[in-house]
Amino acid sequence: MAKRVSGVAGFWPDEYKLLDAAKKTYAAGYRQFDSLSPFPIHGMDDATGIKRSPIPWVTFFAGLTGASFGVWFTWWTSAVNYRLNVAGKPLGLLEALPGYIPIVFELTILFAALASVGAMFILNGLPKVDPPIIDPDITSHKFCLFIPETEDGYSAEKAENHLKSLGATEIKRVAEF
C-alpha cells in the first residue's frame, strides 16, 4: 500500500476546466500531482504527463502463455500422459492441433483477460481498504486536482496559490491521501 501523503486539492465544476488547469500545472513544473474525476477525461494523460499504461504487454505475454499452455496441455494429456485411441484420430502435435484450436483460443483469451485485469489491479494498487477520500462528490460531479507533498519544492501555500490562480472554485488542504 502506497504511503499516504498530505497535499492540497483544488476543485473545478467541469472536466474542461480541470484539463486546462492540469495542463497549466504541468507547465508550471509540477510532476507528482494527479487529477481526480468521476470519469476518465480525454487528454488528461498528456496533461498530467502520464506514460502509456504497460498493461498491453501483460496482455500479450499472458495471451502467449495461455496459447502455449493450451497447445502443450492438450497434446501432452491426450498423446503423452494417457494415450487413448479416440475415433481413430491421430494424436501427433501438429496433426491433432486443429481439434484443439478452440481450447487453445479460449485459454489465450482467459489468460490474457485475467492477467490484464490483474495487472490493472496491481498497477492501480487495488483493492485499497478504506482509502482516504478528498471529497465524496469527486466520484459524482466534482473535478479535482491534487498536489501532494512529495512534489519538488512543495509548500502548501504555494500550491494553494497556484490552484487559486487556475480558477479553482474550492481549495482544500488534504491531510492524508
Binding site: 476518465p40 496482455t59 496441455f73 490484464s116 482509502p131 478528498i134
Partner: protein, 452 residues
C-alpha cells in the same frame, strides 16, 4: 459531418445524472417491484424443484428419448447463451467502434449477459444423466491414471468457451462497475452501505493514474471480448456443426449462430429496456427512443441475416445432392414438426420486417411485441435445429416423435424465473446505467460545448 442526436435527454447536471441513476439503489422498492420480484422468485423456486425432481428421478422425466438425445435443456441452453451475446456485443464491439450510444444500455445489457450465461450454464449441467459428476469435464489431475478429458469433443470446447465467456464477461462487467460502485459508496448515507459498496468498489478514487490503467484494461477487455463473444456461439454451433447428423453438419452454422445470437440478444435487450423504462421513468432520459431505433435496426438486419441462413441451408441441402441432407431440410418444413419451423420463420424473418417503417421502429408497443416474437422464434430456431434434425436421421427405423413433458415446460419457464430474479435484484443493487460512461457523453449532440 453528420449531426448527432443527443444521447441524454433533458437538461441535467452531472449531479442530476448521479441522482437519477442511483435513485433505485437508494430508495425502498415500490410495491410493483415486489410483486414482480415475488413472481420471479416463485418461479425460481419452482425451477429449483423441477431441477431437483429431474436430478433425483432421471433424465427420463423430460421429453428427450431415443433418438432425440437432446431436447429442451440444450435448446434452452443455446437460447440463453445467445441472449447473452447482445450484452458483450454492446459493451465490447460497439466500444471498439466508438459507438457512444452504447453507454446508455451497456450496463444493463452486460448484466443481462452475465445472468443469461448463468442461466444457460445450468442447462448443460442438468441435461447430463449424472449431473453430480459433471466436474469430470474439467481437466484436473486425478488418481485415475490420471485420466484427462477429450479435448476434441465440442462439449469440452463448450466447457472452455462458456466458462471463459462467463468469467471474462463477469470480470468485464465488474471492472466497468468499479467507478460507479465508488460513486454509490461516496453517496452512501449509512455506514453499512458505505462498507458494502466500499468493499466492492475496492477503494476506487478516480485519480487519473487509475483512469489511465483502467481505460487501457477496458479497451483490452473489449478487444478480447470481441473475438471471445464471436467464438462462444461459434463453438456452441460446433456442438451441432461438428456432428455427423444431417441438419447439424453444416459449415454455415458459426456465422448463422452468431447472427442469431445477436438477433435474440438485442430482442431481449429491447424487451428488458422497455420494462425498465416503465419501472424507472427517469431512465427514459438515458435510454431513449433513439437507442431503441438503433437496436431495432440491428434486429432487422440480423433477422435478415438469419433469414438468409435459413434459405441458404435449403439451397445447400439441395445443391449438395446428399439424400439425407435434403430429406432433413424437407422434413423441417413439411415433417411432423413443421409447425415449429414455421413459428421460427414467421417470428424471426417475417415479424422484424415491420421495422422497415420508421414509425414502428420508434413505437414502444410494436417493438415490445416484436422483441417477444423474436425471442419465441429464436427458441424455436434452436428447437428446430436440435429436435427436428434428431427425430428423423439416417436409419428410418429410429425415427420417432417428440413430446413436451411437464419437466420440459418446468425448466423452460423456471429458467426465466432465475433470470428475472437476478435481473430484478440487479436493478436494485447496481447502477443500471454506467454513470462514468454516460457522463462524458452528455455533451454529445448538444451545441454549446460544456455546460455550466
Amino acid at each position: 459531418m453528420i449531426k448527432r442526436n443527443i444521447l441524454i435527454e433533458g437538461d441535467k447536471t452531472y449531479k442530476d445524472i448521479s441522482d437519477d441513476i442511483c435513485q433505485p439503489l437508494e430508495s425502498f422498492p415500490g410495491i410493483k417491484w415486489f410483486q414482480l420480484f415475488g413472481l420471479a422468485i416463485t418461479v425460481l423456486l419452482f425451477y429449483v424443484c423441477v431441477l431437483g425432481y429431474i436430478a433425483w428421478t432421471g433424465m427420463g422425466t423430460m421429453g428427450v428419448n431415443h433418438p432425440i438425445g437432446w431436447g429442451t435443456d440444450i435448446v434452452t441452453f443455446v437460447f440463453w447463451i445467445g441472449i447473452g451475446h447482445a450484452g458483450t456485443l454492446i459493451s465490447a464491439i460497439l466500444f471498439l467502434f466508438r459507438q457512444k450510444w452504447r453507454t446508455g444500455i451497456a450496463r444493463a445489457a452486460e448484466a443481462m449477459t452475465v445472468f443469461a450465461v448463468m442461466t444457460a450454464g445450468i442447462f448443460p449441467l442438468m441435461h447430463t444423466g449424472r449431473p453430480w459428476l459433471a466436474y469430470w469435464l474439467l481437466p484436473y489431475p486425478n488418481q485415475r491414471g490420471p485420466l484427462w478429458v477429450n479435448f476434441r469433443s465440442p462439449l469440452l470446447w463448450d466447457v472452455f468457451a462458456v466458462s471463459t465467456y462467463a468469467t471474462v464477461s463477469a470480470v468485464f462487467w465488474y471492472v466497468g462497475m468499479i467507478p460507479d460502485l465508488a460513486t454509490v459508496r461516496d453517496r452512501a448515507k449509512t455506514n453499512l452501505r458505505r462498507v458494502i459498496y466500499g468493499m466492492f468498489s475496492m477503494g476506487w478514487r478516480g485519480t487519473n493514474r487509475n483512469w489511465s490503467h483502467y481505460e487501457m484494461v477496458y479497451l483490452i477487455l473489449a478487444g478480447l471480448s470481441t473475438p471471445l463473444v464471436l467464438s462462444v456461439h461459434t463453438i456452441v454451433s460446433f456442438d451441432f456443426a461438428v456432428a455427423t447428423l444431417p441438419g447439424w453438419h453444416t459449415t454455415i452454422f458459426p456465422p448463422y449462430f452468431v447472427a442469431g445470437a445477436i438477433f435474440s440478444g438485442f430482442a431481449m435487450v429491447v424487451t428488458l429496456m422497455v420494462l425498465v423504462r416503465e419501472g424507472f421513468p427517469q431512465i427514459k432520459s438515458y435510454i431513449t427512443l433513439d437507442h431503441f431505433e438503433v437496436m431495432n435496426k440491428i434486429i432487422m438486419t440480423t433477422g435478415l441475416m438469419v433469414g438468409y441462413a435459413y434459405a441458404s441451408e435449403f439451397f445447400i441441402a439441395w445443391y449438395s445432392g446428399v439424400h439425407y441432407e435434403q430429406f432433413a431440410f424437407l422434413n423441417r418444413a413439411t415433417g411432423p414438426l413443421a409447425w415449429s419451423y414455421w413459428i421460427m420463420v414467421s417470428c424471426n424473418v417475417l415479424s422484424p420486417q415491420i421495422f422497415w417503417i420508421k414509425k414502428f421502429r420508434r413505437s414502444i408497443p410494436v417493438m415490445f411485441v416484436v422483441s417477444i416474437f423474436v425471442n419465441i422464434g429464436m427458441w424455436f430456431e434452436r428447437f428446430v435445429i436440435t429436435v427436428t434434425s434428431l427425430h428423423r436421421d439416417f436409419l428410418p427405423v429410429n425415427w420417432s416423435d417428440f413430446t413436451f413433458k411437464f419437466a420440459d415446460w418446468g425448466v423452460l419457464i423456471g429458467s426465466f424465473g432465475m433470470f428475472f430474479t437476478l435481473f430484478l435484484l440487479f436493478l436494485r443493487v447496481i447502477p443500471m446505467v454506467s454513470m462514468s460512461e454516460v457522463k462524458p457523453c452528455y455533451e454529445v449532440g448538444r451545441k454549446g460545448g460544456h455546460h455550466g
